[in-house]
């Protein structure tokens, strides 16, 4: 394995382990099985949203429509299901497809019309926000169906269902990125769309697929999150814009595209969740949490940046004889 190329991802896991050790010192109850389990479950929601975000960012874009794709799926599911399990059989596939469709629209806007990703996905986000608010009139919806609640908080043999789902999705994402032509195309497009196009990479299809995947995972996370909180509420997607991008960045992907991996994003999601759980234990306010989030992003992206690669002299020699990595 070319370790140098994966330095940023290794750093993310290193950071996570250091954080866990620190935590076990300052808040001894934190490393109990119950607490760890709830931490991982919360990380799963971030991790699922950040899955699509990882693909989009590797492809050189960014998806700011995540909050209201997530929120729309959550609100529409509770509205349509009306606390019944049976209708979920058609609601869940339809909403997943709708999320994917929104992502596809993003992808077309970016890839065909050349709209900057920030603007395209921002516009789609506010249009969805307004649409859902007009449709529901801002009123709260009924509680989440039992089946969805089981997916989000239930356990099979003591193992959280949502964690099983996350592991399955992570396996698929890893396979897509590392073993398929789509994955290789995505890195190529993220490195340089023009070069990729001239080299015969189907840049348009690759970009559209990445955004489609992001719409899909945001919708999925929205429905699961509704199961977790037992109710859909307006604004529930808002925190996931910051956390999904932060998880990808902490996980070692360059925001310029062309590098990173979902394996790193998993560590990013875990780091963010451990921090969230740690600060109440230290009696710190939510303001302090935001400061720590910001500092962690700065430190991790700095460590991963080429400017500080001189620091790797202090680390074990990670295949430094190799030429500059692609």
């Amino acid at each position: 394995m070319n370790i140098r190329r994966h330095r940023a991802i290794l750093l993310a896991y290193l950071g996570m382990i250091v954080l866990l050790l620190l935590t076990s010192v300052v808040a001894p109850g934190f490393l109990s099985a119950t607490h760890l389990r709830s931490t991982v479950v919360l990380a799963a929601f971030i991790g699922i949203v950040a899955l699509g975000q990882t693909f989009v960012i590797i492809g050189g874009g960014i998806d700011l429509s995540v909050p209201w794709v997530l929120n729309s799926a959550a609100v529409l599911m509770t509205l349509l299901a009306n606390s019944q399990d049976a209708p979920l059989l058609w609601i869940v596939p339809v909403l997943l497809a709708a999320g994917a469709l929104v992502g596809m629209v993003n992808g077309f806007g970016v890839a065909i019309f050349g709209v900057p990703p920030i603007i395209m996905t921002l516009a789609v986000n506010v249009i969805l926000q307004g649409g859902i608010l007009v449709y529901t009139g801002g009123a709260p919806t009924s509680t989440a169906p039992q089946a969805i609640q089981f997916l989000a908080v239930g356990r099979i043999g003591g193992f959280p269902v949502v964690l099983i789902l996350w592991i399955a999705l992570a396996a698929i994402a890893t396979f897509l990125l590392s073993k398929t032509a789509f994955g290789r195309h995505l890195y190529a497009v993220g490195t340089s769309a023009t070069v990729a196009e001239f080299s015969g990479v189907p840049a348009l299809r690759t970009t559209v697929l990445a955004y489609t995947l992001s719409g899909f995972t945001a919708a999925l996370a929205g429905m699961l999150l509704t199961g977790y909180t037992a109710q859909a509420y307006l604004g529930m997607g808002d925190p996931y814009l910051f956390t999904s991008i932060a998880a990808v960045a902490i996980g070692g992907a360059s925001i310029l595209g062309g590098s990173g991996h979902y394996i790193g994003t998993i560590a990013g999601a875990l780091v963010l969740t451990i921090l969230t759980g740690l600060l109440p234990a230290l009696n710190l306010s939510s303001g302090a949490l935001l400061i720590v989030y910001g500092a962690v992003i700065l430190v991790t992206v700095s460590l991963a940046s080429e400017a500080l690669s001189g620091l790797s002299a202090f680390l074990p020699r990670f295949g430094r004889s190799r030429g500059p990595s692609a």
Binding site: I62, L64, G109, F113, G114, V115, P116, I118, I119, M120, L122, A123, V124, N125, V126, I127, Q129, G130, G131, L133, V134, G137, G138, F242, I245, A246, A249, S254, I255, L256, S285, S286, G287, A288, L289, L290, I291, V292, Y293, G294, A295, I297, L298, V301, S302, S305, E306, A307, L308
Partner: protein, 347 residues
Amino acid sequence: MSIVDPTSRAGIAIANSGAAGTTPRRSRAAIWKSALLDRASLIIPCVMLVALLLVYASLRDGVFTLDELNLDTAAAMTLLLAATGQTIVLLRGGIDLSIGGMISLGTVLAATRFGTDPGQAAAWAFGIVAIGGLVGALNGILITVLRLQPFLVTLATWSILSGAAMIILPTDGGALPSGWTMFGVSSWLGLSSSVWLLALLLVFWFWFKRTRLGIAIRATGSNERSAFLSGVSPIGINIATYGLSGIFAALAALYLTTQTGAGSPTIGKDYILPSVAAAVIGGISLFGGRGGLVGTMIGAFILTLIGNLVFVLEVSSYWQPIVSGIILLIAVLASSIAEKSARRSLS
């Protein structure tokens, strides 16, 4: 990364030098067409603004009065100040998300530290602007020295500044001196202080864009490498660009407190993406180097007018984001199509 496009704006001296003389002779109609297409990114928002104004005037009396101008300018001014900083950063080819945190921090500092003594309030007002400049300069240093992406650095500093604001004032509140909140209602020659502020901003812009710094920012946004080779210091330009953005965010915060009379640790996030949207509607390219503050002002007024329209139409206020999003997409698509055909008609 950035490609020098010799067919782009005539105003960008550095990218354009040498392109003249190679252009073949063209008919008068073709010259007019290319001149129009070249300015499409400013003409499109102007047309949108006029259309919105006409619709608004057909629904309501007294749209073309000084009172309406005073009201709308006051409604647009916070966004406009935030978008002024954002415009400067976008012209350099960057983006500043930290203005959200700076606006929140500015309002909570004003609401908790001004007290009742005018001298103390004035000192803190200057202090807040200085903090804005320092935080922005820090953004510029981090971006240059660590070679990090502006998006990530300012995302992180946004989080840090928001956190600081929440620690200073956990919930909306605080108080401002009564003289301070009188700023919005004071007027001179029938024009409110906000309109004079708008005029001042325009004067600032027409001065600033011709200064060495203004030209250097635009040149760097146009082509970073050639700007560097022409003697523009990379760290200097980033400190100045993001420092100015921080200063304008602080000014936006101060203006906001004259309107609301309170501080809010979360209000800043409502201005981050709208500031980018106002600039982009006004024809500023996210790839740097193109556009100006006049476009951004038009963009900010378009966004403000949409709010007014939704109000007079008596439909749900939730329509406002929908219409804003659609206008944003139309503006971007139209200028991107115009740019493509401008390139085609010249090549």
